[in-house]
């Protein structure tokens, strides 16, 4: 199966005189339905990586592919159309349009791509709001919603055009822990229900631990890329193996004391 989204030899350099090499020769591919996390310290380049994956930014060198289509050759407007059809975005600071109601915010991607929403899209928008639990406040201005509600509306908005992939940049970074938990839960459920690929940038290892796959960036390079299920298995094994060995050697008590 072709990769849904992939980077080949991507570099990103900022600045003219003082050059900052933010991404260094990144090769990375995401499959359909994957629920991945990109983690790293702030300044590691993880947000830049997400922006390049989301075609909001262009690499200094290297190529971005989507289903083997070379996105680097598209114009800004062609990329805008591509994003509108293929991608959903969730940002840290909610970014609903305060001039519009929750329902209207959900409809914006459809409006931009295909004009006025027909009844079935309107119905879908309401269903999505219902699904994320904000249907009661769908006619409220988005500024009247709590942070968690806004972020859930943003998730519904990301889904309205039924994109293949949703990119989320610190989606719970600005939320209290209860709301964050709800939003995480919701993204996971949507991943399973709709088969939508998620790529989530976070610095929270707890969130990362609940993703299928974790890509860790440090100083613009990938330092780790693993599937959490395999990793757990290995960690379990690493933890269990010495115990097992020690048990054999009769040193269990010492281990337990420690």
């Amino acid at each position: 199966m072709a990769d849904l989204l992939s980077l080949v030899g991507v570099n990103k350099v900022y600045g003219q005189k003082v050059k900052t090499h933010v991404l260094k020769d990144i090769n990375l591919a995401f499959k359909k339905q994957e629920f991945s996390a990109i983690i790293g310290q702030s300044g590691s380049g993880k947000s830049t990586l997400l922006n390049i994956l989301g075609t909001l930014d262009r690499p200094s060198s290297g190529t971005v592919y989507s289903n083997e289509r070379n996105l680097s050759s598209l114009s800004d407007d062609e990329l805008a159309v591509f994003r509108n059809r293929m991608m959903g975005f969730i940002f840290q600071f909610h970014y609903l349009l305060p001039e519009f109601s929750a329902l209207e915010n959900v409809l914006i991607p459809h409006w931009l791509g295909q004009g006025n929403p027909p009844p079935d899209i309107l119905k879908l928008a309401k269903q999505l709001l219902d699904r994320v639990g904000v249907s009661e406040r769908m006619n409220n201005k988005s500024t009247d919603l709590s942070g968690g509600q806004q972020q859930r509306v943003a998730i519904a908005r990301a889904l309205i055009n039924r994109p293949g992939v949703i990119l989320a940049d610190e989606p719970t970074g600005n939320l209290d822990s209860d709301s964050a938990e709800q939003v995480n839960q919701l993204m996971r459920e949507i991943n399973e229900e709709f088969g939508t690929t998620f790529i989530i940038v976070t610095h929270d290892r707890h969130i990362a631990a609940r993703c299928d796959r974790v890509v860790e960036i440090k100083d613009g390079a990938i330092v780790q890329d693993y599937l959490t299920a395999e990793r757990e298995e290995r960690e379990n094994w690493e933890e269990l193996a010495p115990r097992y060995c020690n048990l054999r050697k009769g040193e269990v008590e010492w281990v337990n004391k420690r």
Partner: protein, 406 residues
Amino acid sequence: MFIWKAAFRFLIEGRSQTLFIAVGIAIGISVLIFLNILITGLQQDLVNTTVGSSPHIVVSSREDPLQSLFPAEENKVVLSRTGGLFDTTRPLNEWDHLIEQLGRRELFTAVSPVAEGSGFLSRGEKNVSVRIRGVDLNRADPIYNIEERMVEGDFMVGKSQVLIGVDLAEELDLAPGDLIRLSNLEGTASSYTIRGIFDLGSQAINASWIFISLDGAQTIYQLSNAITGLELQLEDVFQAEELARRLEQSFPELSWSSWEEENPDLLSALSSQGISSYVIQAFVLLAVALGISSVLAVSVMQKSRQIGILKALGISTAGVSRIFLIQGALLGLLGSLIGSFLGALLLLSFFTFTADEAGMPLFPISFDPLVFIFAIAVATLAGMGAAAIPARRAAKLNTIEVIKNG
């Protein structure tokens, strides 16, 4: 369309900012409308006073070089007013045909044949130089408005019945019913009855003009059936010069002179007045446009988050530009609608406060709807033009910068 909705919402959410700039535009546009209508009214009044009651184009036979031997000194003012150098020595013979042809053009509100010449009026001892004008009163009246401006007697002329001016009547102590003698320059004289006395508002005319019937004048000057010229009046006085030149091409054997040729001073006064009014209007419009531009520039900064998010969601660069262009146009439209209302109010109060005791305004003005439509259209377009720079800036806004900086 989403971009329209977005433009509307951005403006509505801008509230006080939107209101302030709309009022600013409104003030500018009201001044523009006020000035435009005032100047137009003033100019129309001026033109009306000058040429409202005189022919706009005068047709005569090509000037005979011999005529310069005949300087009709005392009639100079009159001549320049009517614009023609009519003389009985250069008659138009086939004028029926000419009138028919001119009438077919449907450009003229009045076509009046004239047979005229200089002569003398004598009453007892006194002898006064006069201008004897043979006209068909029904055709001449649309030009001169004689009937409305009769002072005494009847509005009628005949072969031996004449109308004279009020100054002439005063000078010679004449009244309707009196007999006078009129003679041509050769001295051939006959008796005529005064039927009425007119006041055409000009001392030169009132002191020298005598209206008589066409055949009366033709007899005095031995013209048989010929006339000396044609006087034309147009719907649009400002077309006179152009039309005269066009007709000159069609009838090169005739001399066509327009009032514009005869009144170069008035024309230059009008045009400098017009130009200064347009310059003021242009600067007002510029100020309005700059106001719109700066408000939208601020708005682009305020809405940068929204623009960033819309770009991420897939709006085209042209779409972003259009949101701001539409806002500019809407501000221009809204402002100019309020401005039209204010401008009308300003005009009404101006003419109420400057009215004389009888409540008559200084001069008549017309609320030409075209002026309002034009002002609204110009303001809307100017608003859109003013939005161009902010719109460009919005379109160029970097999505990542906006998203990164929260």
